[in-house]
């Protein structure tokens, strides 16, 4: 498979009164055409910032300080604002967690879906209108011909998220970045939206970057997985490899913390402690204060990301295939 996106050594730092927060600190990954990559991590791990950085959506006190992100031969991080606007919403679009706050509350959903089409000069007037109606049909909104002229508040949470997906699909993007798209939804609706995303991916050959804190979801939905901790990639692996052989102690901890429907009573093993303060990161490996395997080297030297198998990388001094 050919690569759609190659990210190398991306660093995004935020300047705060108290110091510099290295929200994303040197992450690298590749995304192939038609691939779903899931970025998993807890709040503050840098998973959302790493995605927003690609689209120039970092707020003013933050800055991409290093790295490259080659998207179809062009480095996204070197583009100016105007050039990025030509890509945003067209080649790369986003679906956010809370559809109520990311849709315009005083604009009919049909108009919102038409907006990227008109803005990117792909369609106009009647044609754009028909496309908006068609998109609502594709994402499974009942009575779509009527609903297209409703406002966001007239839709339920699940339906709003379908509208968001319709909007993201409008310009036939190559990549959709979905940031916790189902976290705000009820379980039965969550399954509907995930199935819809999977259908869209297969039908339109999309690549997806899915950002989530839900490990069980990540392990089922992705082709590849990237586990982030304190701004760094702890582990990156093709999903079947990760299911068989999660190597980083943090990845294992996340899996053991997950309360599965099949979990036995008394079987969960929580990771002790809490994620570190980003202004006061521990020395060496950022995970060592919570790690059951930590040794002297972990306290002193920050582990490099190493290739341990076919496209399987892990940043841990001790992890070896089949040993931890």
């Amino acid at each position: 498979m050919e690569e759609l996106l190659v990210v190398n050594n991306l660093k995004t730092h935020f300047h705060r009164y108290e110091g510099v927060v290295k929200a994303v600190d040197g992450i690298s990954y590749q995304l192939h055409y038609g691939e779903t990559l899931t970025i998993v991590g807890e709040s503050g791990s840098g998973k959302t910032v790493s995605a927003l950085s690609l689209l120039g959506l970092i707020r003013k006190n933050g800055r991409v300080v290093d790295g490259e992100a080659i998207f179809e031969g062009r480095d996204l991080l070197k583009l100016n604002r105007e050039e990025l606007r030509q890509i945003r919403g067209k080649d790369i679009s986003m679906v956010f967690q809370d559809p109520m706050t990311s849709l315009n509350p005083i604009m009919k959903v049909g108009i919102q879906i038409m907006e990227p089409l008109v803005w990117h000069k792909l369609m106009q007037g009647k044609e754009a209108r028909e496309r908006a109606i068609e998109l609502l049909r594709v994402v499974g909104i009942p009575d779509y011909q009527v609903r297209v002229w409703d406002y966001p508040f007239e839709f339920s949470g699940g339906m709003r998220q379908r509208v968001m997906i319709a909007m993201a699909l409008a310009c036939n993007p190559k990549l959709i970045i979905a940031d916790e798209p189902t976290t705000a939804l009820d379980v039965t609706v969550r399954a509907q939206i995930l199935n819809l995303m999977q259908d869209m991916k297969e039908e339109f050959g999309l690549s997806i970057i899915l950002i989530t804190h839900d490990v069980a979801l990540a392990m089922n939905f992705s082709d590849s997985i990237m586990v982030m901790y304190a701004g760094k990639v702890a582990e990156y692996a093709p999903i079947t490899e990760f299911i068989k052989n999660p190597l980083h102690p943090y990845s294992q901890g996340l899996i053991d913390s997950t309360i599965d429907i099949e979990a036995e009573e008394g079987s969960i093993k929580p990771i002790p402690g809490a994620p570190p303060n980003p202004l006061d990161l521990p020395s060496g490996c950022k995970f060592h204060p919570r790690c059951g395997y930590a040794q002297d080297i972990c306290r002193e030297v920050e582990p490099e990301s190493r290739e341990v198998g076919d496209n399987h990388r892990v940043a841990c001094h001790l992890a070896e295939r089949g040993e931890t």
Binding site: N220, S257, P270
Partner: protein
């Protein structure tokens, strides 16, 4: 024990039946899990039991006394033994009080012990819930989400309660912290023989902690059974759909990619059509479901279900 509890809210000249004729019992030392999607009425039910929301009808019998018949001081004394842990720990702690003061507050309210004795109790409670003593003078906003929730749990334990309503106590926490708090609740249950009403939308978490589980849909309980029966042989189509829709850990090494999904969404609880509340989303729907509301009946020992076809 709760009998025929009802709570209706007025909604534009109609009634929103948030809790509509719900009955169940919880034994001493038992955990009843209460599962449902948003809008099912599960939180309203939890709060109505403690009379934090005043129910419209029904009985809440706690140790032989109907709480709904008590007033003032009597109610206060009785309610000492019933506590609640809320979803959002930061919002439920007093931001102007330190962690220690928050935990001590119920003791002061009920006039228990001297200052020194209370301080000692607070320290003990902090040990029990796994809080380091160094945070006793920290304010809630200075604590992490996990620590805040531990303070909330310690506060609930302060008066030696017998019964705790835990309303989505872990849903706002990160995965690794969620597991810590769940483990804590599990330990406390065994250590103090606490009874819990554990409210959550997360079936896996509910299963982990509960002895019996009730599934709520649009204001009523549609199925109630022992944990084993409910998860292994669910009878109500809604329970089955809920169970099927959750991503499971792919132990056999194969990602699922697609999930079994129930059609539609939970309808508005205002002005429900006659018949079964689940009819609009049910694949087994027949004529009788449109006409007659199914009775909540016992189909095997301790296994109740409200479905014409189960």
């Amino acid at each position: 024990m709760v009998r025929n509890l009802k709570k209706y809210f007025p909604a534009r000249g109609k009634w929103l039946k948030a809790v509509d004729d719900v009955s169940f019992s919880i034994g001493s030392g038992e955990t009843l899990g209460l599962v449902g999607e948003s809008g099912s009425g599960k939180s309203t039910l939890g709060r109505s039991i403690l009379r934090l929301i005043e129910p419209d009808d029904g009985e809440v019998i706690f140790e032989g006394v109907d709480l709904r018949k008590l007033e003032g001081e009597e109610l206060r004394q009785r309610r000492k033994f019933m506590q609640i842990v809320f979803q959002d720990p930061l919002a439920s702690l007093n931001p102007m009080m330190t962690a220690g003061q928050n935990i001590e507050d119920p003791l002061i309210i009920h006039n228990i012990g001297t200052r020194e004795e209370r301080r000692k109790t607070v320290m003990e409670l902090m040990d029990i819930v796994g809080l380091g003593r160094e945070i006793i003078d920290a304010f809630p906003h200075e604590l992490s989400g996990g620590q805040q929730q531990r303070v909330g749990v310690a506060r609930a334990l302060a008066l030696n309660p017998k019964f705790i309503v835990a309303d989505e106590p872990v849903s706002s926490l990160d995965v690794s912290i969620q597991a810590q708090v769940i483990s804590l609740l599990y330990e406390l249950k065994r250590r103090f023989r606490l009874s819990y009403l554990f409210i959550s939308h997360d079936l896996a978490v509910v299963k982990y902690l509960s002895d019996r589980v009730a599934v709520m849909y649009l204001g009523t309980i549609v199925e109630l059974a022992s944990k084993e029966k409910l998860y292994e042989s669910p009878l109500h189509p809604y329970t089955r759909a809920l169970l099927a829709s959750i991503p499971k850990m792919p132990k056999d090494g194969k990602p699922q990619k697609r999930f079994s999904a129930l059609k539609g969404e939970i309808p508005s609880p205002v002005d429900l059509p006659p018949g079964c509340r689940f009819q609009s989303r049910c694949e087994y729907m027949t004529e009788i479901c449109k006409e007659e509301e199914p009775a909540f009946r016992e189909v095997s020992l301790g296994h109740f279900v409200a479905c014409h076809h189960a």
